[in-house]
Subunit: 206 residues, 2 copies
């Protein structure tokens, strides 16, 4: 049997990391999960797509402090009755990410997958980032964010990702010690980042 | 004329980053500067080796606050008369690093070289790190640090590097945005880290 390849990609909004993840999956001929994952979540949990889009990474402060400290949920049993919808969403995603990792080789972008799969041997965790200037350019040109609010929007996204990650993992989002590799997408260029990750996947890690 | 290759390596103490830098230089057939650099500094500045060893990265708090804010020195003229010895040392190193980068392809480990060469086109900045467990193991087995004090010693080294870097550059040491690539040496293993950096050097960056 061929060795399974598992890659998680965490990325700053506007770094082009999602597309790099997709290209890595294509290159390696393995599955890719991102929005597709949300669809599966929606299907399995009975939550509507609108609900998921509204609640992903929009955890506010009252939620942060009303609920137990970060890192509490990921290890706990799925399907608890008293959980608020955001928690159910996270637990559903956790369950599905673990099932996918069990089942097949894949690239998973976002969704705290690096943390969820932290004990999975040979899972490669990559963090992709860029500088504000290039991120703003990409947000405007590719994602249609208005130029005048793009920088504020990116900072808001960074805060939201950081809050969401810390809440559910107890770790700081983007702390390199949680990743095997971190790459500056715009200095290196997408082509070489794809090659580096692909090379890593073929070699494997300890 | 062949394209010049410039690589700076910043690394956590005990990550094995110095040896990786040396192997990259061997692999690419280019010069390597680390302690060798200190010898050149000593020779050019008239400072004794003992003085250099004592003052490298041992900038204390009074020094940090008595002198102007971080980031001030690197761009300034060399050879000012009123500087304290630590500053002269840094300025001498700055001057030599710039001369080396001008003259030949090389790998430079430490010494804020990433910051000093930040405006040099095609210079590749790499940050190498590991987890505390592996760093302690390496510090004990390879560098002869006593096991019982190794972890405290590593934390002290991290603080010293951070203080030194922030003082002279105004930046946070280890902030990934200052590097093109960051790699976990022990998860990936030295062999693949050497290959990744070598590959990057051959491709070049924007």
């Amino acid at each position: 049997m061929e060795k399974k390849i598992l890659i998680t990609i965490s990325r700053e909004f506007g770094s082009g990391g999602r597309r790099i993840g997709e290209r890595v999956a294509e290159e390696l001929g393995i599955a890719f999960y991102d929005k597709k994952l949300i669809n599966i979540v929606a299907e399995k949990s009975g939550l509507s797509m609108d609900f998921i889009k509204d609640h992903e990474q929009k955890i506010n402060n009252s939620f942060l402090f009303n609920i137990a400290v970060g890192g509490y949920y990921a290890g706990h049993a799925f399907n608890s009755e008293n959980l608020i919808p955001e928690d159910r969403l996270f637990l559903t995603q956790t369950k599905i990410i673990k099932e996918l990792a069990e089942k097949e080789s894949c690239v998973i972008v976002g969704r705290c997958a690096d943390y969820i799969l932290r004990d999975t041997p040979d899972c490669i965790n990559v963090f992709l980032y860029s500088d504000m200037e290039d991120r703003v350019k990409r947000a405007v040109e590719e994602y249609g964010v208005p130029a005048e609010t793009a920088q504020a929007e990116l900072k808001k996204k960074d805060r939201a990702r950081n809050n969401h990650y810390t809440h559910y993992t107890g770790e700081k989002w983007g702390d390199i010690h949680n990743y095997h590799l971190a790459a500056h997408t715009d200095y290196l260029g997408a082509d070489i980042v794809v090659k580096l990750i692909t090379k890593l996947a073929k070699h494997g890690v300890r």
